[in-house]
């Protein structure tokens, strides 16, 4: 019941946004603000021609590579440092600095270092994803109930067993919380890097669209990026639901709207 209500209410919100957009476009003129209809037709046309698919695929590939390059060490590091609280304390100000530094400002540097190819985009995405996932995983490792570890040790579990059977499963909800925040940043980061310098990807489409005063093309690329974020989010939620099926239902329901 509430599920259908949510869907119909969402459709109403969508209609209001589209109507406001259409009216705005009529007032300022399609030259400055393209209309939803024009954007949708361009989106469909570019999808069918394969152009949008190709550029989207490129952006997705950068995001996935960057998320792996940043996410895997971000998950492993807190586990390796679990028994070395002093190291965590030493690293902490640097990690906080890395977390707070505006990574997008590093984009020109990454292009300088890694060139205008895929490497500079992966580097930017990885730097964004790493710090978000690191702090979330660290929080998960720290929130661990030491009594569960003692129980396991008394039962004869080795340090490796404890990491695998106790620390990791306990940290998974925290890792997912980090991923959920990191995924839109990863895709956004890839697009920003493309905007600055690239000859492929959705950021490139936005850039060339804007240079040609073709707002329809810009919006079509943004629409594609939005759909990719939604798809990625859905995948994170779906895998979380499978991996965390041991949690009480209420905890899962909160984010199960889609």
């Amino acid at each position: 019941m509430t599920r259908w209500r949510t869907i119909t209410d969402r459709l109403i919100v969508l209609v209001i946004i589209l109507a406001a957009w259409q009216i705005g476009s009529a007032i300022v003129g399609p030259y400055w603000l393209s209309s939803p209809w024009a954007v949708t037709s361009r989106f469909v046309a570019q999808m069918l021609s394969g152009e949008l698919v190709r550029h989207s695929g490129y952006t997705i590939w950068e995001s996935v590579c960057g998320a792996i390059a940043g996410g895997v060490p971000a998950v492993l590091l807190p586990f390796l440092l679990r028994r070395h609280p002093l190291m965590v304390a030493i690293l902490d100000p640097f990690m906080v600095g890395g977390y707070g530094a505006p990574k997008l400002a590093f984009a020109p540097l990454f292009i300088l270092w890694f060139g205008i190819g895929i490497e500079s985009k992966i580097a930017l995405v990885a730097s964004v994803v790493f710090f978000i996932v690191y702090f979330n995983t660290l929080a998960g490792v720290r929130a661990l109930d030491p009594k569960l570890v003692q129980m396991a040790q008394i039962a004869g579990a080795s340090e490796r067993h404890v990491a695998r059977h106790i620390v990791f499963p306990a940290a998974v909800p925290y890792i997912f919380a980090g991923l959920r925040i990191a995924v839109p940043y990863a895709i956004g980061g890839a697009i920003i890097a493309e905007l600055i310098s690239s000859n492929r990807g959705l950021g490139y489409l936005v850039q060339t669209g804007a240079m040609n005063f073709d707002t329809t093309s810009v919006f079509a690329a943004i629409l594609a990026a939005t759909l990719i974020v939604h798809g990625a989010n859905w995948m994170v939620n779906a895998s979380e639901r499978v991996l965390l099926r041991w949690r009480p239902q209420t905890a899962v329901m909160v984010d199960a709207g889609d």
Partner: protein, 265 residues
């Protein structure tokens, strides 16, 4: 012919380290000595905060000893240094704690099998034994449930048989039935006695409930208030197998109860 004790506590003492710039806190346990025979069911009664959990933590080697000695199976096993602690003394001392400490991401059967799994002893025989225990405590049908889907009493049973399943020679129990209602508690006590009759493990069972101590134990020790030491010792000559439901009516119960109650004052 007296058997050598399985566990001997000699003049044990414990005080927690002082916080920076403060007087060291008083001794929690001081001059505590007792011994446990193999196959004995020993109960320890003490008021809240008497250091009962601290005592079991030291025996289980998850906490250090400040003074004295713990001898298990002829070997001194205590440690003053947290880094050389050997939790569970090489899987020979099991520990059923107040909290069930079930792993929330494992089902009932996987929680029960957890110690066997990490000990690398998972085979058809150990699995069958674990399944027998699951049935014996009435958890059949709940094997694939996660802990949050079980009632408090069921979780206690799962935690209990998790330790029994890997068969350590000695088991410590720290008020394992503390947080359940009276009815469930009596059922859990009956389950425990039934399981104990099967294997006759050496058990140290800590409680603040005099009735529970008498219903379960061969012998009951009474701890004094801080610093904890042995205030009294009572043999419990009530014959086994016992029925916890009508333990009150049995001959001798009232007299033992009165003596223990007097010792606690």
């Amino acid at each position: 012919m007296a058997q050598p004790p399985l566990l001997e506590i000699k003049d044990l003492g414990k005080r927690f380290p002082a916080r920076a710039g403060r007087e060291p806190p008083p001794w929690v346990i001081q001059g505590l000595s007792f011994a446990v025979r193999p196959g004995e069911f020993l109960t320890i009664i003490g008021p809240s905060g008497a250091g009962k959990s601290t005592l079991l933590n030291m025996i289980a080697q998850i906490d250090t000893v400040t003074a004295g000695e713990i001898v298990f199976d002829g070997q001194a096993v205590n440690s003053h240094d947290p880094r050389t602690l050997q939790p569970g003394v090489d899987r020979r001392i099991g520990y059923v704690t107040q909290d069930d400490n079930l792993l929330p991401w494992r089902t009932t059967i996987d929680n029960v099998l957890f110690p066997i799994e990490v000990q690398g002893r998972l085979n058809d025989e150990t699995k069958a034994h674990a399944e027998m225990l699951v049935r014996a405590v009435g958890l059949a049908g709940y094997e694939r449930y996660y802990p949050h889907e079980l009632s408090g009493g069921m979780r206690k049973r799962a935690a209990l048989i998790r330790t029994l399943a890997y068969d350590p020679p000695m088991i410590l129990m720290d008020e394992p039935f503390g947080a359940v209602d009276a009815q469930t508690r009596m059922q859990l006590q009956a389950d425990l006695l039934k399981l104990w009759e099967l294997g006759r493990k050496t058990i140290i069972f800590v409680t603040h409930d005099i009735t529970e101590a008498i219903a379960l134990g061969d012998r009951a020790l009474v701890l004094s208030r801080q610093p904890a030491r042995i205030a009294a010792e009572h043999a419990i000559p009530i014959p086994r197998p016992r029925n916890v439901q009508d333990i009150f009516a049995l001959e001798g119960f009232a007299a033992i109860y009165e003596r223990i109650r007097a010792a606690i004052q």
